[in-house]
Amino acid sequence: MHEETVYEALANAHDEGHWAFGTGFDEPLAGVDTTVPAGIDPADLGEYCVMLGDDALVLAQRLTQWITASPELEEEVAIGNVALDLLGQARLLLARAGSVGVLGRSREPATESIPDEDALAYFRDSDEFRSTALVEAANGDFAQTMIRLLAAATLRLAAFARLRDSRDPVLAAIAAKGAKELTYHRDHAARWVLRLGDGTEESHRRAQAGVEAVWPLLADVFTATDIETRLAAVGVAVDPGEVRAEVHEVLTEVLERATLSVPGWPADTPPRGRAGEHGPELAELLATLQGLARQHPAATW
C-alpha cells in the first residue's frame, strides 16, 4: 500500500481552509492522554507550561533574527535549527497549556478555528507573556548572541533534565525530548564561546563585552514564583533555585576555558518577566511576531 507522504497529505487536504499563520495540519498532542494527574491544579500547570513555552517562543524569535544576517552560511542553518527546536518546544508547551484551559485573553481576538497554541502565541499582549528578560534581550553582536544562548540553554537544560521526572506525563515527555535538543544547543553555544573568547584580540574583547551585557539578565532567573513553588512541592515543576549551582558551575567552566573573566553573579531580584512585567524589547518583538496575524485574524489558505 502506498504510504502518503507529508507532501501528498498537504496537497490532498483541500476540504477545510487552514489558518494561514499556524501549521494546522496536525495536533501537537494528538493521541496523547492529556488528563491532569490527581492533586495538581490545572490552572497552575497551564501557567507553568506558559512560562516555559514563552521562554522558548521568544528565544526562537530572537535567534531567527540572524537569518539572512549570519556571519557564515553554515552558522545560519545552525542557528535556524536551534530556533526551530525551540519553536517545537514552545508549540508543545503552549498546546499543553491550552489543553488544560489556560488561554488568558487570547481567545477573544482569535476565532475558534485557530489552535490553542497559535492563539496563545499570536493573540496575547505583552503583559500576558511569562518569559524572562534573559530571552527577551536584544541579540547584540554574534558573540553576545552566543553567550546569551549559552546561558539560556544551560539554564533550560538543567531544568528540563529534572523535569523528565515530572508527575505530569506530558510535561515529562516534552522535557525528555527537549533535553536532547538543549544538550546540542548548549554544546553549540559553548563551542563558539570557547573559540571567540580564546580567539583573536577583537573576538575576545567582543566576547567579554557580551558577557558583561548578559550577566545582569541572570538576576531573576533563579527566583521562584508562587506557582513554581506550589508545583515543585507536588513534583510537577522544578524550583529554579535548585539549578543555580549547576548553572553557575557550567557557565564558570566554559568562560574560564575561554579565557574570559566571569563577572560577579547578580543579586537575586523578584521575578519580573515571570510575573508579566516586561520592557519594550518584548513589545517590539511581539509586534513583528504577531503583527500580520492580528491584522488578518481569520485568514486561511
Binding site: 557564515e72 552560511l73 552558522e75 542553518v77 545552525a78 535549527n81 553549540h188 563551542r191 573559540r195 583573536t200
Partner: protein, 122 residues
Amino acid sequence: MSAEMTSEGGHGAVPTGADVPVEAKPATARRDWPLYEVFVRGKRGLNHVHVGSLHAPDGEMAVHAARDLYTRRNEGVSIWVVKAADITASSPDEKDPMFAPSGDKVYRHPTFYEIPENVPHM
C-alpha cells in the same frame, strides 16, 4: 561619476572610472576557513557516502556544521569530515589511461560460473 563603461566580463555595462572599485574587498579572516568534504553513514548503511562540502574553521566545527547541514532529515548516524586539501584525487585528464583499459576485460567479471540448482545461498 565617470561616463566610461565597459561591457567586458559579461556583467552588462560596468563603469570604469578611477573611483570605481574593481577588485573585491580584501580577503577577511573568514576566507581562511578551509573547505571540508562531508561523508555520512545512514542507520542501515555499512559505508559513509559523500553528501557535500562546507567551510569551517577547524575539524570539530566542521563535524557540527555537517550535523546541522546534512543530517536535518535524519539522513545518518555517523559523520566524517575531511579537509578537501587532504584528499588526493585522480585527474579528469587521466581518465582514459586510468579507467578505459578495464572496460574490455570481461573475464574479470565472475559471470561465467554456472551455479548448481541446489546451492542455496549464492
